[in-house]
């Protein structure tokens, strides 16, 4: 199997001049126990750069960039944290995409099957209670050696203020 990894860290709001609607809903807290339980959960000091809806918009653009480079019906694993803040857009719910909490286990199974597929290992946070480091790593797997033009993804990451952008090839 041949793999290409592309990674970068979001360091600013990628849609900075847009008006933002606070549409995402969080869990209602009503009792003493609710507040106590929430206070036992860890929080981080990682900055929040995007709202839920901006995050989905960014993910749809990354998917579009991958689909420009690889076949349209390629299986794609996309890491997604819950709660989603509302209904996710239809573009993320398409047949060939699986949204899951941690991509690694299923990624290993698909590598074992020697299948062409892509992974978006997305650790962008949308809420201070989410764990993550705002890094996105895209891993493209192919049974045969393929010379992709990585331009659609690299252009996107650069345009949307990702830093520490790197890419490398691996043979598995």
């Amino acid at each position: 199997m041949y793999a290409t990894h592309i990674t970068g860290v979001l360091t600013a709001n990628p849609f900075e001049n847009n008006v933002k609607l606070s549409l995402a809903r969080t869990l209602p807290l009503m009792t003493e126990q609710d507040f106590y339980s929430m206070s036992t959960l860890p929080t981080s000091d990682v900055p929040v750069w995007v709202t839920h809806s901006e995050h989905y918009q960014l993910q749809l653009l990354i998917l579009k960039a991958i689909e420009e480079m690889m076949p349209q019906d390629l299986v794609i694993l996309l890491r997604m944290q819950m709660p989603a803040g509302g209904r996710m857009p239809k573009g993320l719910l398409r047949d060939h995409i699986l949204l899951l909490q941690d991509v690694v286990g299923e990624e290993q199974q698909l590598i074992r099957q020697a299948q062409n597929f892509a992974v978006i290992d997305d650790h962008i946070i949308r809420y201070p209670m989410e764990a993550g480091d705002n890094r996105v790593t895209i891993r493209l797997y192919s049974r045969y050696q393929t010379q992709y033009s990585l331009a659609p993804i690299l252009d996107l990451l650069n345009a949307f203020k990702f830093k520490d952008i790197r890419f490398e090839d691996h043979i598995l």
Binding site: Q33, D34, Y36, T40, L41, S44, M80, L99, Q101
Partner: protein, 283 residues
Amino acid sequence: MTLSLLSAAFTPIDSKPYDCQEDYLKRIGIISSVFHQQVDWVLESLSDNEKSSINRHFLCSTMLELPFTSGQITLDLFNQALHTREEKLRSIPVTAYINTYECASWGYTLRHYLNSASDQEYFLLSIIDANLLNLSFWQHNENWGQSGFGVTTLLLKREIGTQQENIADCAVTWNATPEFATVIRRHMKENDQLIMSLPFFPDNIRSIFVRMLGNYDQLPDLHDQWGHCFGSDPWVGIISAGLNNELESHKKLLACSVALNGYYCMSHVGIEPNSRFKIGEAV
């Protein structure tokens, strides 16, 4: 072709409040241990050779999200009960956790499996919902009445090379339950031999299904007994009917789930004459 349900088990999880700070990890340990005993029981339907062909075990949930999202727990905790080499060999550890599609997560996961694991005959999936943080929203609310917590494990078999009837989609309106009832009604018009296994809801919401789907066969709504068990509902309905000898192997079922945010799924499921069902003691 339909998928065959070879074995299925449900174990209720007691929702009694506890000191979540002190007993949190202990509680997960107990649930994890019972969960893997359930998986072992379900897998007894297979020979060792058949069992060794299974390389995936999907775990789905609706409401178990914040402990994962905040980084408080990881999937490893649900495999922690598999301590010894023998236990690890006997059981199949969880390989993926999917809660994104809420109650419809099992259907979207099944869709992925059918699309991407074309040479795999068996599909092992568990659904867990447990109010580990004692949050009142998850205990009871106007969207589904009383919640029912538990863990369900399913072992399904498919005929390789044939098309399985599995639909995973999303409502276009915010009245997801009546819209889903309409989607099911359209499906049942062409498949009126199916028996529907629907999500469990209190009377006021159940009436949507009663009124819109009253002309078609359906398994009893067990909300009064179990509460709303999230993605487990259609499977608890099938397990209960199986244990009561109310399922005939020539009849096919339509397992249906709908989520609060409008995601829905339905799948044609067959029963074998030797299909096994179990409801475990509450943990």
